[in-house]
Symmetry: D2
Subunit: 293 residues, 4 copies
């Protein structure tokens, strides 16, 4: 098993629904994927938080997974989020994603009951042992309710052979420092906190997992290019230019804001599923003004 | 619609699984329900946090709901937890519970994306408008990720006609004070934090929603009786007698500890679903010692 | 050394200043002490948080300490707060209080730099070894910045002979449970969180350290009497009757609210020292309405 | 009034004591100041957190202030921390520092009682109106107990003419972003969180206020030079090289660790004042190994 070279700007897809929110709209999903790939991003991540993976039935999830991997068709690497509440269901999803051609999977330790470190490790071991794909460990306590310390993440990294990447979304830069130090630079870490993109790259992040390329791919890509060019001053200017939008989509919730932004720019992808509300008209206008700026 | 007189000790059921964790064991569920009812508790609550409701497939959930309501057979009131991630699915469960004869439903605003107060209110309004049963609003940020202020809870109470009860599980006694004050004593509130049972009753809680009666129903009931008898000294003694066990089951996770305790006392209800691990042998022995004491 | 029987309602004194805030007004301090003692409270506590002990120069502190102990003149026990930032200065204050006739001292581990558990223990040992008075360990992270766990408090209690009482002000009822359990009921604990007075007594608190008797001593005393009479229902009614005022003085800051309340009731004790502002006129009227009710 | 050009590496001084901790050792203070200045740092900051300003008597504080300003003798700008618990005492210190030739003062809103935003603003206005020096607003809730939002800091910046700089020590990079955005880049902000030095510079910090130059000035200065040279890759390498020591001194407490480090490198500056303990021998050896590396 070789880990594909995953780096740079990794774009999350949304999941389009019909107007009443009940049906998947796979045609539009295809358009949104094409827009992302055409923008030049380096990898694509279906069914993540932005993709409302948690709000889909198993049947819908399978459809989106299958369609997405086939539609991407290896143009760029595909990382499918396969998190689920039970280990058994997460394994099922991971195998399904592998069968459909995913290049890697992302796993968040979602939970209802708080998990011990041993339980979390066993969860990753069980998933890791069930597939041959590389796994990106994903830490995001704000959505999962589980906070994994850098020490635990490193234990998982060392204990599970195909765990080869880490996505950190706490927004605490010290977590990245700690991963870097504990692993002596051997753990490739990715940033999942949009308003910390500049500093994560400064600290050595290999990539940025973000829904922002649905709306402002060029700015995201230019920031990464400035980092590659070792041009901090330019990176800083580019970062502050996109920060208002990054703050806005984080604060407003990614499915609601990204879907509103896509609609504003001509691609109607429907609304998020209730209880998540669509963005108000006023906020949508504010967002469009930011995109235009 | 009349709210049944729900008060006192409200016992949560566990959900028994076969040894491999894959099949429901409804026979054993029936036994565990009988044990709870025979112990003298005042109401029963299937499919709550303890019942691993979040870890069941929709098909399993329906089976447990149907079996539980039929097996209780109106011996005592049944309050079914119908929480789900989308409003549509929570409504479906609430209607299903109503059709099967539940006396009330309990709703926790589970979420993946943080919900605004308006989104939470709309969620309760949509569920409330879909059934004729009384609803117990349930606040438990530790499992749901959403913390509802007393002010918001009161708004929901006032805006949704069939929201008639509140369960507070934050463990912050000031929340109960605030509910009592804001509503001038008109909101019946129930305690969901086991190690705060004494003080919640002192503050005026109408009942205690707890999984502890699976193991120590007599102590739970005696505490409530002491409160009804206005005998604080006796209530305090009874509370401290059961507190070590209440602390233990909270800290160890209710499904794991209650299932281990039931096994220790002769009823094998299987293990929790992974990634939640069963209690270790050492901890199970510690628990049994507490039950015996 | 015998610990005096400290229990029940322990009232904090304010420290009156002249109009410009620069001079102590000891005459008025005498009046306020007399009012407290005449109201029937069980012990008195000068120079605590309410008494702005932290805002006094050493010279002023000594004056207030000397005047207070002499003016109380053993009518009821006097517990002097002797907290200071360095161990040396806290010892000096403790000795001074002892020389002037205090019956006990209270020590909060104030800090600028976070202290380790070993540093906190050594602080208490040094103070304990310097005086012959009983010491009340005081935990209040909101003002001191240091949170002592029940386990640490018990270690201090066991290691320092004249530490014989604990005041808990976190407002977390579980801290009191833990002290009670860990010490098998051998640690006398006092409540320092006004809006938790009812529940602290329910949990077994031996007393309530509070500034409220400056304004509503009768209600405070009646609550304690109801607890002694094992009449929970009456205690609950009395508690909810005083809760709005208890919430108000906590939220508004004790020096500002108690001083405003005393002025409203005819005793002008001046303003708190800046940067703490006096209560606004509107808030003072609101407070007076609560006192009258 | 002109603000001196304060930027780059701003080094905190320690305050040396005699062996018994009771006397100031001004001679050694002079040596430690010379070492800092000779190392090439850009400004010097006496009596800050590292300098144990909070643990000194007023008389001692005055001595250290006077000696430090005279000994620096304008070789580099001197920023004196003048924080105190009351507004009156902070003003006294600010005027004293101005009289002795300080180039700027730093003010942390230390508090015992929580301050409202209006009280904090009034505190800065009173100090600002009492001196002609530029003021650096300093936010450090971990030591002061008061957390000022970027919005409040900007209000102070706009309302008080001689507030011209901000030091942010929360370690939350979003605070710096917010200051930058809200002020459209017009507020010069400085970093006070050692392990965030790289990212603060990436985000545009004008300087780094740190005690580290007492031990590793060259590395601190080289990091800043790399930033000025727009060489992010080199800055990153330099940052990770010094990060273990930065983490160590933060975690161990600055007075204890810096004093131990100075002793290890040949300058005996005594111990911190109790209750702060000196670093253990084992930890001191660990620190020396880091300095040597």
């Amino acid at each position: 098993m070789l880990t594909p070279d995953i780096h740079g700007i990794i774009g999350y897809t949304i999941t389009p629904f019909s107007t009443d929110g009940e049906q998947l709209d796979l045609d539009t999903l295809g358009h949104s994927i094409d827009r992302l790939i055409d923008s030049g991003i380096h990898a694509i991540a279906p069914l993540g938080s932005t993709g409302e993976g948690a709000y889909l039935s198993d049947y819908e999830w399978d459809q989106v997974c299958e369609f997405s991997t086939q539609h991407v068709a290896k143009r760029i690497p595909t990382i499918v989020s396969v998190s689920d509440l039970t280990t058994a269901k997460a394994i099922r999803r991971a195998r399904f994603a592998q069968d459909r051609g995913a290049d890697a999977v992302m796993v968040l330790p979602t939970s209802y009951w708080k998990l011990s470190e041993a339980e979390i490790l066993a969860h990753y071991q069980a998933i890791g042992g069930s597939i041959d794909l590389p796994i990106m460990v994903y830490n995001n306590p704000a959505t999962s309710g589980t906070d994994m310390s850098p020490e635990l993440i490193l234990r998982i990294f060392n204990a599970v052979e195909n765990v080869t990447m880490v996505k950190e979304s706490t927004g605490d830069i010290q977590r990245m420092h700690r991963l870097q130090q504990l692993s002596e630079g051997q753990v490739p870490f990715f940033n999942g906190c949009n308003p910390m993109a500049l500093e994560a790259f400064a600290a050595g992040a290999k990539g940025w997992c973000t829904a922002a390329p649905n709306l402002i791919a060029t700015l995201n890509l230019e920031l990464y290019a400035a980092i590659l060019a070792n041009d901090l001053e330019r990176a800083r200017v580019l970062f502050y230019r996109q920060l208002p939008l990054l703050d806005f989509i984080l604060k407003g919730g990614l499915p609601a804001t990204i879907k509103a932004g896509l609609r504003s720019t001509g691609l109607d992808v429907g609304n998020p599923r209730l209880p998540v509300s669509p963005l108000s008209d006023a906020a949508s206008k504010q967002l469009l003004a930011m995109i235009d700026a």
